[in-house]
Assembly symmetry: C2
Homo-oligomer: 191 residues x 2
């Protein structure tokens, strides 16, 4: 069926509200953790609590949307970087993406644990992120600007533990600085 | 007072028993975790349970001795490496020591948590290990064979999270392989 222009406008509006709620929730959760106030999220998104609850049945549904959005963003970024930098600087493209992974993981602050993802779901998220990173790593290795024997799973393990090592710090900016410093160490190596 | 030769021999014997108990306990704990059987430790050390309990009031005292012994060993190793390699290959000396830190941490398998070290004790252990590593890092940096901007605290944070990332694996050899692979990645860097 053909939708009326009014209906389409309403749907576009609802879509914008939903997207804004996910973006604001992502920022608030990064700041306050997974138990951030839903009222504060609605307020900062400029909608009422009723609108938030119309889009998301509850906290769990909102957390899942935030998590999914972050994974989508990381995968899309890998694609963009692979398209844009593949010929110019594949080493820089890889490092840019790793910094984004650390930033996203640092922003998670226990979101993964709160979600209580099943083992299958967690595996599928890991596989999507590993697939996204594998292409960037392979291009950098083919160009001779990344260590040839690195495995993407090992690399992501280290990136994840860097985030875990810094997540106890309640100060968002200090946490990001610390995670970035540790990632720089990993990127440049010791010797 | 002057000790009789018999008394001295008995003391030397007791000392050897204690050292052997600590060494065997260290190996058994690496294999089975901090709740390893004290009977098995005594048996593998070739002494009776009564001898074990004469040297160590209980599990906690034995765990503390094992932990202390590992810290002493790491610090002594740093000194030996600094003396022996300072002019020849300070980069290799640093990496050798980092591999030992990972191996010791991997062998700990929750020993630190079981010990319930007070914050002050944990800090003092961290400070001793950081002091031991700082000298090796500084020599390698002065020789131009380690990245100049690395901080010993950041480096040890990464080494510790590498151990933490692998400690869930119940297979001792696989755990050591994994930790070594991640350390190689850290040592060589990504780009």
């Amino acid at each position: 069926v053909r939708k009326s222009p009014d209906h389409q406008a309403m749907r576009a509006d609802a879509r914008r509200n939903r997207d804004r709620l996910v973006a604001v929730a992502s920022a608030v959760i990064a700041e306050r953790g997974a138990d951030a106030s839903l009222e504060e999220i609605a307020r900062r998104a400029g909608v009422g609590s009723a609108t938030l609850h119309r889009h998301f049945r509850g906290r769990q549904a909102l957390l899942e949307a935030v998590f999914q959005d972050r994974v989508d963003t990381l995968c899309a970024l890998a694609q963009t970087l692979a398209d844009g930098h593949s010929t110019s600087d594949p080493g820089a493209a890889l490092v840019t993406w790793l910094r984004a992974v650390v930033a996203h993981a640092a922003a998670n602050r226990g979101l993964g644990a709160s979600l209580m993802l099943g083992a299958g779901q967690a595996e599928s998220v890991h596989a999507r992120i590993a697939d996204a990173g594998r292409g960037l790593l392979a291009r950098a290795q083919a160009a001779g600007v990344a260590q040839p024997d690195i495995d993407i799973a090992d690399l992501l393990t280290l990136v994840n533990v860097i985030s875990a090592a810094t997540e106890q710090n309640p100060d968002l900016a200090a946490r990001a600085d610390h995670a970035n410093r540790l990632l720089t160490l990993l990127v440049n190596g010791v010797v």
